[in-house]
Structures are given as C-alpha cells and as structure tokens.
C-alpha cells in the first residue's frame, strides 16, 4: 500500500502545479495532433477529448466532464477536479510519388478544471486546441542566379495553434436532464518563419519571421438526458464567430468558422462495462464557400470501457473526414486502446492510451501513432 500512497501524493501535487501553470499561460505546445492536410487550410481541428475518451475512440467525450466537447457533461463533476492530457505523436507521411518522411511532436491538447458551485450547478473551464497550425516544410530547388544554377533549400515553418479557452457551466434542470452552456474565446498565435538557404555560401541565408495572432469567440449549448438508468444520450451544438488573423497589429484575414453539432449515446452494461457512440457534423465548406479545398465533415466513433472503476480497460474506433485537402475530402480512421488507474483513494487517476490514425487524401497518406497520458486529480 505504501508505494501507491507515495505515487498518489506525488501525482496529486504535480497535477495541481501543472494545472496552475498551464492555466496561468497556455503554451504553444497546447496543441493537438497536426496533419499535413491542414497546411493549405485553416489548420487541423483539435480533438476535444480527454485521454480517457480518446482511448475509447472519442466515443465517451460527450459524457466525460474532462473532455471539452460538451458543457452539459460538467454536471457530473461533483467535486473540484482538474484533468490534463498530453501526448507524443510519431507521424509518417507517404506522399504520392514523393519521399516518405517521419515527424515527431509532443503536445498537451486539453486541460479542464471543473467544480460545483451549488448542488445543481457546476462550472468549468480550461482550454483545448481549436486548430493546430504547427507544420514545417522544406522545398529544394535549383534557381538561376546571376547566370549560374544555384541549389537552394526553403524552410517554411509554422509553430502554434488557435486555442479554445472555454468557460462553461452545466445545470441539472431535472434529475435526468442536464443543460450546458459555454462561452469560448479563440485565441493563440503562430510563429511563422521562412528561411532560404543557398548551397553557395557567398549568398547569406535569408530568414523572415513573424507572429500571426488569432482571435475569435464562440458559444456552445448541450443537453444530457438519462433515458433510463443505463442509457444516456447527449446532443450538442456550437457556433463561432469569424476567426480573425492579425499580423503586426493589422488584420490580414477573417475566416468563417463552422457550426458544429452532434449526438451521442452511452449504455452502461452493468457495473463493469460501458459502450458509447457519437456522431458529429461540422460545415467547414458551408462556412467558407470560396475555399474549394474546404469540406464539410462527418465523424463517428464507438468505444467501450470494461472493468472496475479503479482499473478500467478502454478501446474504440473512430472514422470520418478531415476538413481540408485538395480534391476529394480526406478521410481518417483510427483505433485506440488504453487503461486507467485510480490512486489515492480515488482522488487521482492516471490514464494511458495508444492511438493509431490513418489518413488518406488526394496525394497523401498519413499514419500516426500517439502515446497519450492523462492525469486527473480531485484535491
């Protein structure tokens, strides 16, 4: 028993410190899984899921108070709690006719803090990734300079994201119905750097950098209904203002953001198993008809959690589409699994998950392995 108690004490302290630091200043690392398909668009949408939900394919997200997908789920946070998710991704790119390459990134895609203020009202907040805009490309070419063929290498990198800072609340209007409302502040920045290197050292490397800052706002509403003791359904809707991009204090673009809506269902098959499924739509193309590379998306997920509350095993699958890509709408299929472990008498929980995503689009295949780790504490 002693080692578990020591681990719990350390984990609780570390979790609280990490939560405080992250809330004080959201870092750029607070981004989600990136994708090459987001480069030509606004970015790669984040996954608004805790490690627990993501390990089950995302299916538990509408019912998980620590997944920043719906506000109504906050109603289940009966004590002051905080949860943070982190993950390391190994991404392989397989462009059609191009060389394969491997990328690696570490991210902290979600943080949620929630707690009741009355017996029926729970408020929560935190942040997650709305759009990830971290990427880097290297272009090699030979240009004619001063009458001489000159090999060059251009690096164009973007590091940052549009973060979704959420303040939400859930009220249990009846014993079986919870209503959630949320206000979302979209904020963040990307540091963009363009560098040209010449093979001939007579030419100096040219580098240009700038910071693009983003701002916007949104609102969300969600409903959680217990149809029976074992069956619960959820529905949510979200809309956002235009996403404004500023460069040097000057607005350079304003992009419409999609309306999102979805529904989910969870069935508790006894005390040792839960099965859930969700569907979600986002009308990216409708929001920006001028962008031929933007597509409306439909995503689904199913997942299960088996075992005791203290040491559950989770697995799930997801599928759907990605919003940006040349030609046909890119698709995404994923499989995930994970485990959880409660400690300190249920005051802390450590979740570990592994996710495999396969994306396909015109001209590119992408495979991603992501190792996920999440910590939830109830001080």
């Amino acid at each position: 028993m002693t080692p578990i108690r020591r681990l719990g004490g350390w984990a609780v302290r570390a979790g609280v410190i990490a939560a405080v630091l992250l809330v004080a200043e959201p870092p750029n690392r607070l981004t989600a899984q990136d994708s090459q398909f987001g480069i030509t668009g606004l970015g790669t949408p984040g996954k608004w899921e805790s490690v627990r939900a993501r390990s089950a394919g995302g299916a538990f997200a509408p019912f998980d108070p620590f997944s920043p997908l719906t506000d109504a789920a906050l109603a289940d946070a009966r004590r002051m709690s905080a949860s943070i998710a982190g993950g390391t991704s190994w991404r392989s790119l397989d462009p059609t006719g191009g060389p394969r390459s491997a990328l690696r990134a570490t991210r902290f895609p979600a943080l949620v803090i929630a707690g009741p203020i009355t017996s029926r009202i729970v408020v929560g907040g935190g942040f997650t990734t709305y759009l990830d805009r971290t990427f880097g490309i290297r272009l090699r070419d030979t240009i004619d300079l001063r009458g001489v063929p000159q090999p060059i290498a251009d690096d164009i990198t973007s590091d940052g994201a549009v973060s979704d800072l959420r303040l939400g609340g859930a009220v249990r209007v009846q014993k079986r119905i919870a209503l959630g409302l949320g206000f979302h502040l979209l904020t963040g920045s990307t540091k963009v750097v363009a560098t040209r290197r010449f093979a001939d050292s007579t030419y100096r490397t040219a580098a240009d950098s700038d910071v693009v800052s983003y701002s916007g706002a949104g609102g969300s509403a969600s409903l959680l209904v217990d149809l029976s003791r074992d069956l619960r359904v959820s529905g949510w809707w979200r809309t956002d203002s235009k996403l404004r991009a500023d460069l040097g204090g000057r607005t350079i673009t304003e992009n419409d953001l999609p309306v999102s809506y979805g529904a989910g269902v969870i069935w508790r098959a006894g005390g040792q198993a839960s099965i859930a499924g969700t569907v979600m739509w986002r009308n990216w193309a409708t929001a920006d008809p001028a962008d031929s590379n933007a597509h409306d998306t439909f995503n689904w997920s199913v997942g299960a959690e088996i075992g005791s509350l203290g040491t559950p095993i989770r697995f799930g699958a997801r599928g759907g589409q990605m919003p940006f890509g040349v030609g046909a709408t890119p698709t995404e299929v994923g499989y995930s699994a994970g485990i959880g472990r409660q400690f300190s008498g249920g005051r802390g929980r450590l979740d570990i998950g592994l996710e495999r995503l396969e994306r396909k689009g015109t001209g590119m295949k992408e495979g991603v392995w992501t190792f996920l780790i999440g910590l939830t504490v109830r001080p």
Binding site: Q36, R104, A105, R138, F371
Partner: protein, 440 residues
C-alpha cells in the same frame, strides 16, 4: 519499478525531440506564398566617388618590393643599419678596447617569394648612410648601377639539399630571434650564404660579408647602408619584410668581432663576440613612379592612394527586403603593370564618418584579389555593408577602397569612376522580398 522509471525517462527524452519539418509537396501540401528572390544591377548607385593619395609612404610600409622587369618596373629597396660600437668595455674595469671585425652576416626576410621565379638572385649595393625618405630613384641610381658588393642566388639555395648536419641545423635554429619550430630546413651554399626556409613559406637569407664589403666605419658610428636589386630569368620580384612589419623583421646585421682582453687573470687573451644591429631606416624607390591621380578611381601605389565610393541607397533597399548578396563591380581602366606573378589585394572597408579623404575607417572589411596584367572586372563581395545600410539608415553609405598592404608595392589599380557612364562602378544586389505571411 526501476525498469519502469528508466523506460519513462527514455520515453520522455525521445518525446522531447521535436521534428516537424518534412519535404514539401507543393502546391497540394504547402502554405500559400513563396520566397521571392530578385537580382538587380544598380548601375548608377555609386556617386560622388573620388581618389586621394598620401596615406602611407614607402618608408612606412610593412613590406618593400624588389622587382625588375625592363621597360615595366624597376623597384629597389634599401636600408640603413643602426650604429655599431667600435670599442668595447673590458670586464674588469671601465677601460675600453677597440674591436676588430672578422665578418658580418646580413639577414633579409623574404616574404612569400614567387614560386614561378627562375634563377632568382639578389644583389647588394653599398649606399651612403645618409639615405633617408627624401631619396628617390634618380638620386640612388648611381649607387645601384655600381658594382654590387655581394650577391646570392636564391633559386640556387632553394635547390640545394637541406643540411642534415646537426651541428649546422642546431646552430641556425638556435640563432637569436629565430623560432626553431618554424624552420623547415637549412640550406647552405658554397659561399657560406644560408637560407632558412620557414613553415609559412617565407625565407630568411643570411649573406656572409667580409670587412671589405662592409667595413666598420668609425666616422659613421658603424652604420651601414645597402640597396638591393633583384634579378631573375623570369618573374624577378620579391618582397622583403621591413622594420614596420615588426622590430625584428627588418634587415639585420650581425657583426662578428674580436678584441684583446688583457686582464690580470687572462693576460694577452683574445675574446670573440658578436653583435646584432637592426634596421634604422628602410624604404624603396621605383621607376616609373606612380602616375598622378586623374578622374578615375586609383587604389595602391606609393604614396598609397585610396578611393572613396559613396552609395546612394534607393529607398526600397531599406524596406521589405532581405539582402542575400551584394557585389561591388569595378571595371579596370587598364591592366595593372608589373611582374605577372604579382597580385594585388584590394580591401573595401566601411567608413564611420564621411570626411572625404580623411574619412574614418570602420571595422568591417572585405577583400578581393586582382592579378597584374589582367583587365578582368573586379568583383568585391560587400554583402555585410549593404545589409547594414539597409537595416540602419543612420550609417554612412560609403566605402573606402585601398590596397593591402598599403604602399608596399609599386602596383596601382585604376578603375573607371562614376564620370565614365559606360563603365562606372555598379552594385549587383540579390535580395529576397519579405515573405507574405498569411492566416493560411
């Protein structure tokens, strides 16, 4: 548990190494915008350029050149030595005894002699000890056309096998003022002249002189003056270090003498000793002299000439661009006359205050070489200057051209100035436009 901790540590370290850059597949998987590069020759950007002469005199130069190419150039270095005592104090009291000179060694430092020179010889002429900075080619010509007091065949010495006699090599490597590790080999000819080949390809030549060739003159306080002429089958040119290079680098005379040391303990004995004396004054004269300044841009010659080029930076070079290369293009008026194996090092230096010929030189410089006899366009890479000018509008947008080292050689480069519209100096600039970052 221990294994788990190590595994976690390895995982954390691996995870921290970010790699987010991949080969771009454009245009499908590339952001909008591209890096745009331009290459422009600014033909009329250099203006109000002019030349000035008189910065460094021949006797202030760190090198002096000996060259002889009939009808082209005849350059003759000369030097005077410091005084040499004629009496020496005895060890036991203050009484002095006269010294009797046995022989002398004259050391000359030859800097990077041409490898193309064949049968390269140095000839030594006696000059009056009164020679100074007022001496010119004509006034010294009678002394240089008299019979030489000595000569040495440098090519012959170089062709001589290096001495393997440890007594000889140890003696010369142990000579005062010599860096033993710098000596590559020791070569001795039949006349007793010695050549020390140094690691930096410079040569130390020791000429053996007797008292007839170099008498110890009491009225002259032991001072001597010698002139040097060079001869060769081809490429007769050699540069000698001067006392301005360093105190020990100039010509050096080593007097070997004896004197009667009739002390009580060693009655009627003879003591031997030697004394090294350094250069008092050195310079060189040449014919024909450096041409007078004209409307062209002149660099080099003696006294040294510099050219000031003012650059009128267009406004757009200050804004929204990143300069990746800037080259100053200079068109020679004519080929630089001289020994074809010689080359000229040109230096472009920024200036911190534009005061015309007295402009204050800055710390940044760039160099380029041009060859004697060549009329090729000279291109000086001055990227750091133009980059600094584009960023800091308070900087003086001008550069000073000069030869390195100044006044060390007769060579003088002349370039067309802004007065010659067809061949005026130009600035070739390659620049990158600011990247148009966007939200996508």
């Amino acid at each position: 548990m221990r294994r788990l901790r190590w595994s976690l540590l390895v995982l954390v370290i691996a995870a921290c190494a970010e790699q987010s850059t991949s080969p771009g597949i454009c245009p499908s998987f590339c952001p909008g915008g591209s890096i745009s590069i331009k290459d422009t020759v600014f033909a009329a950007i250099v203006e109000r350029d002019s030349s000035f002469r008189g910065y460094i005199q021949a006797y202030q130069a760190p090198l002096m050149i000996a060259a002889d190419s009939p009808g082209v150039i005849d350059s003759r270095p000369f030097f005077t030595s410091q005084t040499m005592f004629t009496r020496i104090k005895r060890a036991v009291d203050t009484t002095t005894m006269p010294v009797s000179v046995d022989s002398l060694r004259l050391r000359l430092s030859l800097m990077k002699p041409s490898k193309q020179a064949t049968n390269l010889r140095l000839r030594l002429f006696t000059l009056p000890v009164t020679v100074d900075s007022t001496a010119d080619f004509a006034s010294l010509d009678p002394f240089f056309t008299a019979a030489p007091v000595d000569s040495v065949n440098i090519s012959g010495l170089q062709a001589t096998p290096g001495s393997t006699d440890t007594l000889i090599t140890r003696f010369w490597k142990g000579t005062t003022g010599i860096c033993p590790a710098c000596i590559d080999s020791v070569r001795v000819d039949t006349a007793g002249n010695v050549l020390l080949m140094q690691g930096d390809s410079s040569l130390l030549v020791y000429l053996k002189l007797d008292t007839l060739q170099a008498p110890l003159s009491q009225p002259d306080s032991g001072r001597l003056a010698f002139g040097i002429r060079v001869a060769a089958d081809s490429f007769a040119s050699v540069r000698l270090a001067t006392v301005q290079t360093s105190a020990e680098a100039g010509a050096q005379l080593n007097w070997y003498f004896h004197y009667a040391d009739s002390t009580a303990t060693k009655p009627d004995s003879v003591s031997h000793n030697h004394q090294a004396v350094s250069t008092r004054f050195d310079s060189f004269v040449f014919n024909p002299p450096s041409p007078a300044l004209d409307s062209n841009l002149t660099v080099g010659g003696v006294p040294s000439a510099r050219s000031l080029l003012r650059v009128a930076m267009p406004a757009f070079l200050h804004d929204s661009i990143d300069i990746v290369r800037a080259t100053l293009v200079l068109v020679p008026v004519s080929a630089v006359p001289g020994i074809p194996s010689d080359s000229i090092e040109l230096e472009a230096r920024n200036i911190t205050a534009d005061l015309g010929g007295k402009s204050t030189l800055g710390a940044s410089f760039r160099t380029a070489f041009m060859h004697v006899g060549s009329t090729d366009t000279v291109r000086l890479e001055i990227t750091p200057f133009v980059l600094a000018w584009s960023v800091d509008t308070t900087q003086v947008t001008a550069i000073m051209l000069r030869q390195l080292p100044e006044a060390a050689t007769y060579t003088q480069a002349r370039f067309y100035s802004s007065r010659a519209s067809a061949f005026r100096p130009a600035l070739h600039v390659t620049y990158v436009h600011r990247f148009q970052f966007g939200a996508r």
